[in-house]
């Protein structure tokens, strides 16, 4: 198949000659592409924002001993029965956690691997008691995940000894303030006095119900020799499940869980959002395609006379068809180009708008795929739309024109 330059020349002249039609189609395509670029960037940004909020201050991957359960059962009544206490084995605690930490810190994708102690307890105040999660952490590792230094709303963000941080929810419920001393019981019923060094707000009610102390104090308080888990954050949150999968391959003794596995509902919500935005995109493309097809069909009828003359002079059917494919492609191309610019404009205007109005600033995600995908699809649909008039042009008999003037 030989593309002859005259096909381009004639296609171009037809387009330039049909000025307002051409401009209208190109504008139509541009708006379609712009809407898609904006929509995809917005969706992407919102999703990332939502995910950031959900998992920003929580681990992306958690490594726990095989027998650990996410919510350790309290042993009721406070009576201590030594025989029922689990044995300290690698099954219930990570005893050799230093080895894991060393191994994990060697993995490029991981930003931090923080050892954690987790347990349940009660804050006692007067006659009431308030259940809390007890968390033992090391700094600065835990700060990478929970950002206590940023999220502390009053007091000092560094726990140590019997100085602990408590979450805003626990503070509100119990009425405890920075500087107060309180009695904290573990689930075996044993307890000790702690004083509040800082109060933090991590944004979620579960996290705001924590009492955070140093790792060794928590080990001692909860009678744990090893650690309860290793919490990991990674560079790319969406790579977390992949990393978890590969860690499962290399670490057979422990349970590895990614945030995706823990947040199935969020993910299926996001999936639904993806599906609906894909549907919107599909219909935008469909209307672009139909619009171009109808306008090009009109152009093909308007240009029948010219096509008849060209065919009499030796233009063959394929060339006649290509003249219209080229027109469709060109309009798609220039429409997409303009659409990208418009879309970027809309996106930055939106970001500027939300920023200056003081609302939540979404980082709209402008990526190459977000821009190129709608553009390429628009060019393709424009070319496909051009098949309609192209077929007409190919089938035109020059005699119809020459006979009828």
């Amino acid at each position: 198949m030989r593309l002859n330059s005259y096909e381009f020349m004639i296609a171009r002249r037809f387009l330039v000659n049909g000025r307002s039609q051409t401009v209208l189609i190109i504008l139509g395509i541009a708006i379609g592409v712009a809407v898609q670029v904006f929509l995809i960037s917005l969706m992407d940004g919102l999703q990332r924002n939502l995910i950031q909020r959900t998992i920003g201050s929580s681990p992306h991957v958690t490594i726990a001993p095989p027998l650990s359960s996410p919510q350790p059962l309290g042993i009721g009544g406070g009576a201590i029965d030594d025989y029922q206490r689990p044995l300290k084995t690698e099954e219930s605690e990570i005893l050799s956690w230093q080895r894991y930490s060393d191994y994990l810190s060697g993995i490029e994708e991981i930003t931090v691997a923080a050892p954690m102690i987790n347990g349940n307890g009660y804050i006692e105040k007067g006659r009431s008691s308030f259940p809390v999660l007890i968390k033992g952490v090391t700094l600065p590792e835990a700060d990478v995940i929970y950002k206590f230094n940023k999220n502390t709303v009053s007091g000092d963000p560094r726990p140590g000894g019997n100085n602990v941080l408590i979450g805003r929810a626990s503070s509100d419920k119990s009425g405890l303030k920075v500087g107060d001393t309180f009695y904290l019981r573990n689930q075996t019923g044993a307890g000790d006095y702690f004083s509040i060094k800082g109060i933090f707000d991590l944004g979620s009610s579960a996290a705001n119900n924590m009492v955070v102390m140093s790792l060794d104090r928590a080990q001692n308080f909860l009678d744990i020799t090893g650690i309860s888990s290793i919490e990991i954050q990674v560079h790319d949150v969406f790579a977390a499940d992949g990393l978890a999968e590969s860690l499962r391959g290399s670490l057979s003794q422990v349970k590895v869980e990614s945030w995706q596995e823990r947040n199935q509902e969020l993910l299926s919500g996001l999936q639904a959002q993806d599906t609906s935005s894909a549907m919107i995109q599909f219909f935008v493309l469909l209307s672009i395609t139909l619009g171009i097809a109808s306008v090009l069909a009109i152009i093909a009828i308007q240009k029948s006379r010219q096509l008849g003359i060209l065919k009499a002079m030796g233009t063959n059917d394929k060339s006649a068809a290509r003249i219209f494919i080229i027109q469709g492609f060109s309009m798609g191309f220039f429409g997409a180009l303009l659409g990208i610019l418009l879309g970027l404009g809309m996106t930055s205007l939106f970001m500027f708008g939300t920023k200056s109005s003081g609302g939540p600033t979404y980082e709209l995600k402008i990526t190459l795929t977000n821009i190129l995908l709608p553009a390429v699809l628009a060019v393709l649909s424009a070319s496909v739309a051009a098949l309609v008039p192209a077929r007409r042009a190919a089938g035109l008999n020059p005699m119809e024109v020459i006979r009828n003037g």
Binding site: N4, Y6, Q306, M313, G314, N316, M399, V401
Partner: protein, 230 residues
């Protein structure tokens, strides 16, 4: 063999349900380099005959030889290429492309066949325009030209590919007699110069009188065929 065109037993029917025969067993030999006119009453089948010889229509039966080649063996694309290479058309209505300037219109047949015209072809176009007195209109669009000027552009366009034969269907039918005479003079001169064959349908007895041969068609049959010796 010195015949550019040979028609053997050409029949043409129109219509599917009501079949209507337009041409009946036409035999015609046309010599190379000559000026042949086809005359006859309106509706007698002159244009149909010309379009069949010009490879724009196919006969219902019979054979067409153009420049020694049996064209019934050619497919649509080959017919198109053959029209482009060997044939120039001049129609009653000029049929220029309104989107293109005069010189661009003249160059289009070259462009279709061989791609972007090189300088010497552009020069040839300008020379042709000069020869028929329209060089100063080369940058004008068809709607900026008079009927006679448009028809002269169409003549130059028909000549650009140095065709073996030119078919003209009442090329002066829309022109006043003065312009008509001028256009005919120019056409005959150039055709003579280039030794191109010319087949023209006309109603004008003066034009027929100036031709080498007059073929008269009546009701789809050749009624008379006279050679002029000049």
């Amino acid at each position: 063999m010195d015949d550019i065109i040979i028609l053997e037993k050409i029949n043409k029917f129109y219509g599917d349900e009501v079949v209507f025969q337009v041409l009946f067993d036409i035999h015609l030999y046309i010599k190379r380099g000559k000026f042949t006119t086809i005359v006859g009453p309106s509706g007698s089948g002159k244009s149909t005959l010309l379009n069949i010889i010009g490879l724009l229509e196919s006969p219902t039966s019979g054979k067409v030889f153009l420049d020694g080649q049996d064209v019934s063996s050619l497919n649509k694309d080959e017919l198109a290429a053959c029209r482009n290479e060997k044939i120039g058309f001049i129609f009653q209505f000029h049929y220029l492309l309104p989107e293109f300037t005069a010189i661009e219109n003249i160059l289009i047949p070259y462009w279709i066949g061989k791609g972007r015209p090189p300088g010497e072809i552009v020069d040839r176009a300008l020379h042709l325009m000069d020869r028929i007195g329209i060089k100063k209109f080369s940058g004008k669009y068809p709607n900026q030209l008079s009927g006679g000027q448009q028809q002269r552009v169409a003549i130059a366009r028909a000549l650009i590919n140095k065709p073996k034969i030119i078919f003209a269907d009442e090329p002066t039918g829309n022109l006043d007699s003065k312009t008509s005479n001028l256009v005919m003079e120019l056409l005959k001169e150039i055709v003579d110069e280039q030794k191109t064959s010319l087949v023209m349908v006309t109603h004008d007895p003066n034009i027929a009188a100036g031709a080498d041969r007059v073929v008269e068609i009546v009701d789809g049959r050749i009624n008379s065929d006279s050679l002029h010796s000049n």
